[in-house]
Structures are given as structure tokens and as C-alpha cells.
């Protein structure tokens, strides 16, 4: 089992996605297939940008990998999501207008994470924060990977 934790700063748009791009490289070094490293990268990128754009104090991106699975956890301490169903609706976004010029605010982030993962869990409490955990099953997927 190897664990990697990245600290993500709130508002740091300039470096947004750097941790996820690095993560992909690290996972490849751990022997993860290209296809699964790519999927992990997609999940991590969406989560990393959410922390940058929405989390009051940023948060952490933690990834644990062993022979059976890749676990990706994103955690922040606020502000928390008021209506999870609404947040999970395709196209719904609370991104500021300026973010669209940089390519953000499609309202697809959480949905992309959910459908890229084999298993997805989200919990959020206003005033406490949000925790998302995604799992990619290596045993199920690696045989079909390139």
C-alpha cells in the first residue's frame, strides 16, 4: 500500500491540476495501468479544482493504492454543500462567471467523478465541510487495460 497526500490551496487557479497531473505519473510508477491512471487523474482533477474554486480553506487530495484498488479522497472543512441532489444535477454550477473563461463551471465535476469511479461516496454538512471518496477497482479493470 502506498499513500500520497497533496495539499490544495484555496483560490490557487494558476497551479490547479498540477497535483492530479503528478498523481497520474506517480500511479504509473506504482505499476497502475495507463487506463486506470488516466481515470484516477480525471477524478483527482475534478476534485482538485473543486477544492480550489469552492473550499474556504482549500483541502487535501489523498490517494492510496494497493494491488486491489485505488482510493481517492478529497476533503475540505467548508463551506459544505447545502443540496447534494442539486449539486449532482448535470449542468448545475455555482462557479463564478469569471471561472468560465478559464474553462470551469460546466456543472459536470461531481458527475464526472461519480461515473469515472467504480464506487463513489459523498458526504457534506454546511459549516463542516465535504468529503468525497472514489474507488477504482484494479482487479476488475486491469485485465482490460492496455
Amino acid at each position: 500500500m502506498r499513500e500520497i497526500t497533496y495539499s490544495v490551496r484555496a483560490g490557487d487557479i494558476e497551479h490547479g491540476g498540477t497535483s492530479s497531473a503528478w498523481l497520474k505519473v506517480e500511479l504509473r510508477k506504482e505499476g497502475v495501468s495507463e487506463d486506470l491512471a488516466r481515470r484516477a487523474g480525471v477524478i483527482a482533477f475534478e476534485g482538485e479544482m473543486n477544492l480550489i474554486l469552492y473550499a474556504t480553506h482549500g483541502g487535501t487530495l489523498r490517494v492510496a493504492v494497493d494491488d486491489s484498488e485505488i482510493e481517492i479522497e478529497l476533503k475540505d472543512d467548508g463551506p459544505g454543500i447545502e443540496d447534494l441532489d442539486l449539486a449532482m444535477t448535470p449542468g448545475y454550477s455555482t462557479a463564478p462567471y469569471w471561472a468560465a473563461n478559464l474553462g470551469f463551471g460546466a456543472g459536470m465535476g461531481l458527475i464526472n467523478m461519480e461515473r469515472t469511479a467504480d464506487r463513489f461516496e459523498i458526504s457534506s454538512h454546511v459549516g463542516e465541510g465535504t468529503r468525497i471518496v472514489c474507488w477504482i477497482d484494479r482487479r476488475k479493470n486491469d485485465s482490460s487495460a492496455q
Binding site: 494558476e14 497520474k24 448535470p90 460546466a106
Partner: protein, 127 residues
């Protein structure tokens, strides 16, 4: 089509990756919003976009995009071009719109990559 032919067709300019001018461009995906880009499934796809933030290259790197075409006269800052060079993704720009660029590429045999349209509640389009 070869990348060099695409550049000529779109009256564009290769900003990085002249060495890759023989690269075959046969599939493409066009979007400005990165989550829409991240929704594409296929590898070895060319990305057509009007977004020039550094995250475009990071997303392209994660997805194994083979080349990026910046449309509407958008020219990424040198730092973004340098980043593309570091990760080995050729980038070009054109003054044409996304619509014109896609139309011309399609007419010349480039096809859409497989993607995964959003389905289920809230997806909007019923068909």
C-alpha cells in the same frame, strides 16, 4: 489527416510540435469547458478548444490527448506552450471559429471521438 495538413486546412500556426507534423489526426472533440473535455472517453483524440488556461494542457496530459487546436484566434501564453512542450503535446492555433474548424475537419474525414453523453435525471435532452 496529418497535423501539417490540418494546419494548412485551418490556415493555422503550429506553436509547438513542428516535429509532429506527420502525426495522424483522425478523431477530435471540441469544447471550452474542461469538465466537458474530461467527459470524453477516447484516447488519442485531438482537442479543439477556445480555452487557453494552463489547465487545458494538464487535462490533455491526463487524458492522453494527442494534439490541441486553439480556435477563435486564441493564442495561449508562452508558459502554456512551454508546458505543452514539456509533456509532448503539439499545439496549434487558428483564427477560425470552433464551428468552422470542426466543419472543415469533418469534411476532410476527421470524426468525433467516443464520448459519454450525460443521461438520467436532469440530463436535459430526452433523446
Amino acid at each position: 489527416m496529418k497535423l501539417a495538413e490540418v494546419t494548412e486546412l485551418l490556415d493555422g500556426e503550429i506553436l509547438e510540435g513542428v516535429d509532429a507534423s506527420e502525426m495522424i489526426i483522425d478523431r477530435a472533440y471540441a469544447a471550452d469547458l474542461l469538465s466537458d473535455v474530461l467527459a470524453l472517453t477516447d484516447e488519442r483524440t485531438t482537442l479543439i478548444t477556445g480555452t487557453i488556461s494552463p489547465q487545458v494542457i494538464r487535462v490533455a496530459d491526463i487524458l492522453n490527448v494527442v494534439a490541441i487546436i486553439f480556435v477563435r484566434g486564441k493564442r495561449p501564453p508562452q508558459s502554456v506552450v512551454t508546458y505543452a512542450q514539456r509533456v509532448g503535446i503539439p499545439v496549434m492555433c487558428t483564427k477560425m471559429t470552433m464551428f468552422e474548424s470542426c466543419g472543415l475537419l469533418y469534411a476532410n474525414g476527421v470524426r468525433s471521438c467516443k464520448n459519454r453523453p450525460v443521461t438520467g435525471a436532469g440530463a436535459g435532452c430526452a433523446k
